[in-house]
Symmetry: D2
Subunit: 359 residues, 4 copies
Amino acid sequence: MSHSIPTPSVPAPDIVRCAYMEIVVTDLARSRAFYVDVLGLHVTEEDDEAIYLRSLEEFIHHNLVLRKGPVAAVAAFAYRVRSPEEVDAAEAYYRELGCRTERRSTGFTKGIGDSVRVEDPLGFPYEFFYDVEHVERLTQRYDLYSAGELVRLDHFNQVTPDVPRGRAYLEDLGFRVSEDIQDSDGVTYAVWMHRKQTVHDTALTGGDGPRMHHVAFATHEKHNIIQICDKMGALRISDRIERGPGRHGVSNAFYLYILDPDDHRIEIYTQDYYTGDPDNPTITWDVHDNQRRDWWGNAVVPSWYTEASLVLDLDGNPQAVTERDERSEMAVTVGADGFSYTRSDDDGSPEGFKLGSQL
Amino acid sequence: MSHSIPTPSVPAPDIVRCAYMEIVVTDLARSRAFYVDVLGLHVTEEDDEAIYLRSLEEFIHHNLVLRKGPVAAVAAFAYRVRSPEEVDAAEAYYRELGCRTERRSTGFTKGIGDSVRVEDPLGFPYEFFYDVEHVERLTQRYDLYSAGELVRLDHFNQVTPDVPRGRAYLEDLGFRVSEDIQDSDGVTYAVWMHRKQTVHDTALTGGDGPRMHHVAFATHEKHNIIQICDKMGALRISDRIERGPGRHGVSNAFYLYILDPDDHRIEIYTQDYYTGDPDNPTITWDVHDNQRRDWWGNAVVPSWYTEASLVLDLDGNPQAVTERDERSEMAVTVGADGFSYTRSDDDGSPEGFKLGSQL
Amino acid sequence: MSHSIPTPSVPAPDIVRCAYMEIVVTDLARSRAFYVDVLGLHVTEEDDEAIYLRSLEEFIHHNLVLRKGPVAAVAAFAYRVRSPEEVDAAEAYYRELGCRTERRSTGFTKGIGDSVRVEDPLGFPYEFFYDVEHVERLTQRYDLYSAGELVRLDHFNQVTPDVPRGRAYLEDLGFRVSEDIQDSDGVTYAVWMHRKQTVHDTALTGGDGPRMHHVAFATHEKHNIIQICDKMGALRISDRIERGPGRHGVSNAFYLYILDPDDHRIEIYTQDYYTGDPDNPTITWDVHDNQRRDWWGNAVVPSWYTEASLVLDLDGNPQAVTERDERSEMAVTVGADGFSYTRSDDDGSPEGFKLGSQL
Amino acid sequence: MSHSIPTPSVPAPDIVRCAYMEIVVTDLARSRAFYVDVLGLHVTEEDDEAIYLRSLEEFIHHNLVLRKGPVAAVAAFAYRVRSPEEVDAAEAYYRELGCRTERRSTGFTKGIGDSVRVEDPLGFPYEFFYDVEHVERLTQRYDLYSAGELVRLDHFNQVTPDVPRGRAYLEDLGFRVSEDIQDSDGVTYAVWMHRKQTVHDTALTGGDGPRMHHVAFATHEKHNIIQICDKMGALRISDRIERGPGRHGVSNAFYLYILDPDDHRIEIYTQDYYTGDPDNPTITWDVHDNQRRDWWGNAVVPSWYTEASLVLDLDGNPQAVTERDERSEMAVTVGADGFSYTRSDDDGSPEGFKLGSQL
């Protein structure tokens, strides 16, 4: 168990939302084919080293940067803050935490101005910026609207060994918890945390970390997600559909997980709920509830629990991964040592073993 | 032209969102049939005098109160504020504005605690509250999910003669403008303003006021709205469909306007866009752009421009209505003296007169 | 009143379905932009004179031929018959009727083999063929699936002055009536007739004819139709949306009417019902029922009643148009001399005048 | 290998479509809760022994009969024929085949008149009828339209050991093949056969039989199927979702398989394609193509291959089940001895083992 992360004395930066992720890909053309030709993200700008992509309704320069590099990994989880001054606040906050920080007045990527990147206490490369180039918001460009159109960046999902430790750190940073998964012994398996008024801007998934579990884009409706599956079938890349589509228990969103050419995981996501009230009710799910991850009780494939992307330090080297020493969600819910129930009866014993009847 | 409304020296209350509307209906049973049996809103509580209704994903006591009374009108536009102290702030704010206020520690309706109601400078009955009874959030109660399910209260829409005056007042109150409709002479016909991260919590529509133009509920998808039309057809009340369904230019939402038994107008609305960034781009539409109100150029029926509900003062008497003395949107866009174009050509003359070819 | 059309002594050809329409357009490039770039029909083949288009799920060569010509008109309503011999049957049938016929063993268009074209008793150019080139059925080519994808040709709609006369002729030809519109005096305003198991392969609309009212393509779902509207808005051609979208009373389909660059009317249509049983119930609508044409009671624009495309004789000259001398549906339902009701009360007087309250 | 079934000298009855299934359930109230309360089928009539249910757009008395009995099984697969005389034809046809037949002029169930039931050569209880009570077609009763509304009976699916033998028999009976699954050695694993203009009225699935694999109802759109899953989640019966939702390779339909309280399997199905042309292309799938059963490559659960309902003889006793002696689809596609590929490369070796990477 790692030591808890101290709460800085200076104010946390006022984060608006998750804004973009920078990922390193090993073959830029191959990744372009996936993100642009298959998924239909819109190219704001590109060169031999990087491609800047945005979703339909975005008005800032990008939501995703694909950068060519030798090792597939994540270079930055970037958040937008409320004002230029909040970049200063972020820098001061992480300095007090003793984290390595790097400030660049002209930004780390095209389209972004003054920003700070940090190696955060959990080992993730976080970026904070306000200044950004506005670009055409394509909201009503229905002439460009594909049948599986991605309209917004929705959230990040990070793998970290000690979820409560990470949760306390992110709460200090101003995130609020919408939902979590626990067991009756108080072990926390995952937590969903937000700044904007959705279920999350980022989530922590318990596991060996720091790693990036997925980055999620939203569609308008459920049929848009089905079309993405159908198109991947037509392109004979259905083996890149990892899990879903399905309805999440947590968040209530309709979802799909797919894998990019470097095995970075992308979630397509739609229709979670409003969380903007200060007393928005927090929902805790029992880890043994078989509807928590999929409301229809469909099986979570093992790779979804075990695989994730490396993250980089500020020198561009992969961060070392620390093993989770608490119970694993997969182990406690699947297989010989685990169990999952569909419903509980009065005396507390679980019923309706869907997984057990299938595997 | 009325005098402008001064900016108080005390801070504006921190408003979270539009939370509920209280409307007076003349026949409670008939209104119940409309809101519960036709629209499927969920009854939190009811008695001989009032019915408290909420949308599927709501966790506070109600989004709509139907109160029996002699004259169909609106008794309150209620906003939730961020903390109990913000109710004090609201009271102080309106007192400084010289408005009549009334504070009730046990609330004006069931389910709500300490609140203040005011007769605001535009003549509307506004309420501010924090304390509210939490009720079951029905988000995942798909066993109760109707084909035209209303999932959230989305916004109010108010008719006022002098839109810039109202806009300045609401900006002082902390609302931010997402979109508006103007002409080339600078006349403003309508403005959309938000606190939560959607296009609006309320909008001002230029016209004789104070009156309530409509209250809007959101669905998840477009087909839910179509189902409401289909059901009204099946019930042979299609004459209560006033306008739509259609796609708004302003807000980009898919919409429908229907009329309740007292002619209170309800909008059903889905899929506008995220406005939470501090520099969210504001969109100004030309009043002559025939796609501003309906992206498909379908005609706005005259009643939609001219009809609206009375609002009450704090004694329950209808507020006097003041005529708009600026140009009317209907007059400048429809008929002999008005015009609307589908597109502009290079020399500035409009083209594509859809309305003209139909009327 | 014209004389009735005799029933031939030879058997009617066994018609499978409406298969394609050949239309003359005055600017091939401009029409291509509409049908291919806006509507997304798939080009099977094209040259300087003609473009052959098909819908996604079609396996025969084309559903629509755009042919360059001096006068916008319809050159053929083509039906597929069950076998090569049925082309002979068609030829014999129309010869007995005294109609001009023309047989071409290599077809009138590319992709089609042995066929016969006739000037039918109502003045329409009908074609009958069996032999056709099979092409790739794109049903699962979701990589080509646009957000407003047209998946099938659904039906034709023809304007003719004397609907009962035309109905009797088409019943002799093997069509079965699914629905019609009448008044209490027995005047018939329109009739829907099918061979395949949908509501219609063609319909007769009372009016000055012979003219082509529209040709209809089907989508999978309602949102696909909404997308077509949204796209036309984005392209600033919303003035080419003539009517809808809406829900038909007749047929129960969700619909949209748009106009091509030559004012040929296209319907986009989805989700009518199965009619394959021999005793499929026929539905008769009262012409004054305001939900017959639009289940939501939305107004039918006058142009929809009055405008239609010319049709050609076998020499390529426009057929003369004969005026309808019976009552016009528009006249009896709209305006000073007409009326439409939303519901009937017990004593037979209509109620709920939606049109009246709007115009 | 059984002997092939002779082709009778008398004409096959002219079958219109699959019309209803009669199933025996062990607890009528529990089955009613499932079919009426969960699935929303409409009760035409019911008593202590049986419940007669229909889908929204049906105009004949029922599509499903639930009959109380000691052993869960299927009592009849009932087809509608084109005329009363075709019932005679059916009787003569099966008599020539040497099958046991039973004729009842007043029908075997309420609402149906003169009919014949047979024990067909594959051991299934088939019924043929024309005379049936017409009931209200609820097509436009959108006031009754649930979010997961079932609008039509679509097809049956039967398990039989020898698929080619069954196929030949059904082709003699007038069914036409739309699709099948084979391997490169010519083994047939399943075949889809139709009378009405959809992909099937019934299908044969290779396995121990005669057994009933499933009966399928259609929805209008994909979201209706998702709602059924969501509702089953809300009711905490997600363990009764057996497989899906997904997109079929075969038929291209969007699908879901669920289990009733007696483990009778129900498919919910939408959007296959038109098959009415005489030369409708037949599609043969390779059994090793991992997209044949699910276009997205999602795993087929073993129970879907192995479990099915017993069928009854005309005395109401379960038919003996004969084992399939050819290869099983599950064995050749899953596990140590089987394989499935996502795509084939040029030299014929399969690639993209999705199943292999997950199990």
